[in-house]
Symmetry: C2
Subunit: 272 residues, 2 copies
Amino acid sequence: MSQHKISPDSPIGIFDSGIGGLTVVKAVQACLPAERIIYFGDTARVPYGPKSQVTIRRYAREDTEILLKHQPKMIIVACNTVSALALDVVEQTAGDIPVIGVLKAGAELAARRTRSGKIGVIGTQATILSNAYACAINEENREFEVVSKACPLFVPLAEEGFIDHPATRLVAEEYLSGIAGSEIDTLVLGCTHYPILRRVIEQITGPGISIIDSAEAVAGKARELLSAQGMLNPGTGKALPHLMVSDLPQKFRELYRLFMGTELPDVELVGI
Amino acid sequence: MSQHKISPDSPIGIFDSGIGGLTVVKAVQACLPAERIIYFGDTARVPYGPKSQVTIRRYAREDTEILLKHQPKMIIVACNTVSALALDVVEQTAGDIPVIGVLKAGAELAARRTRSGKIGVIGTQATILSNAYACAINEENREFEVVSKACPLFVPLAEEGFIDHPATRLVAEEYLSGIAGSEIDTLVLGCTHYPILRRVIEQITGPGISIIDSAEAVAGKARELLSAQGMLNPGTGKALPHLMVSDLPQKFRELYRLFMGTELPDVELVGI
């Protein structure tokens, strides 16, 4: 796995269980406009969140192998579930290609941002049950207190486009009222879909709580790392991302527009 | 595929994309208590609804092959998506084993039940876009008018246990107000999860609209067919279903209780 010829012109590989990782693509494009991006979304097997750890680890290896065929200079794990339960599998599979995950990036940024030392984390069932955000935050500072809450309906609500719907507000109140009342000053959006619902989340948490978008956090970390390694792309071009998916769902075009705010470019269908 | 030794004592095979088909297991148990049931839920690849037809057809063949290893005397397709888009694949794979699907059974019962000839159908995006319920109903009577509506949030709401939640009511109002006001007298629950939300659905549709549960419909059809073929199990025992899944999700025990109202028996994990 270490036979890759990598250079500053090599692409950044990003994968996710589905289309949610497009929020990471968008954040990387904003932060590193000259970089080429290759994205794999495992749309045939989405969602990973409710699945078992054994299955998630197998999928993580297969997803990494798909990206490695394109000789990336870095792999970003946009999937919080994989970051929580299988980052080591991605690292082993990637060999000497650096791997960064949304989870650790979000945890680090939250630890830098908090003043009270009390941090909230929301995510899928699997991410929250894994306790991985709490562990990663406590690696930064073991005094910090983490309050977590799984919000399983946020992904389907975002994908249904119920962005401003009163039902979404009721669900968000149900999920967030406890955590918002627990004196946290920082809330990590521990799922790539959640930035889509950021406004309704902020309405409930209020101005006193700083929102950490893990997609933005991981994009910032990618820039730091590439810069330190002298691997930033020197070009000035702005290429469309190379998109690969394992299935082309009927709503894909609509979802791409929802996540990226632009029209869908060409998409490559890959077998898994 | 036609080498099976089948007898009245052979099991009824039932499969679904996930755990939703347990509503069919429950209906078959109620209707045919002496029958042995073997169930496969493709929990590693659920949901099928948003996936492409090519992928759904491949999954349907693989799911059928898993059941065939247990020499069933009949296969019930509990998955509306597969019934809509890939029933022919199941029939081809099953050879001379009879195959019945929830979709046709629900359509037939709705066609018998309606008086006004105006029938509503709700289901997943894929089921509704396929137009398969409308086609099946019009095969019964081409004068009947069908009004359809996709309700993608009902599955996650049911699985989250938001049975009586005000958010579920708001979502149901959003989805059903148009269809309930369109003079239908019959509404088909075209997704195996929807019986879980039957009460909130009935509150919106009101007493003038007769609800057709496709799970009950397919169980009734299975009894008719087995009886006509002299293949009813003569036993009086009441066995637990033999459950097979392709993944063991963390919430499986809880979901089983939600769907079946009883504790989870042993489960076999099968590779796909």
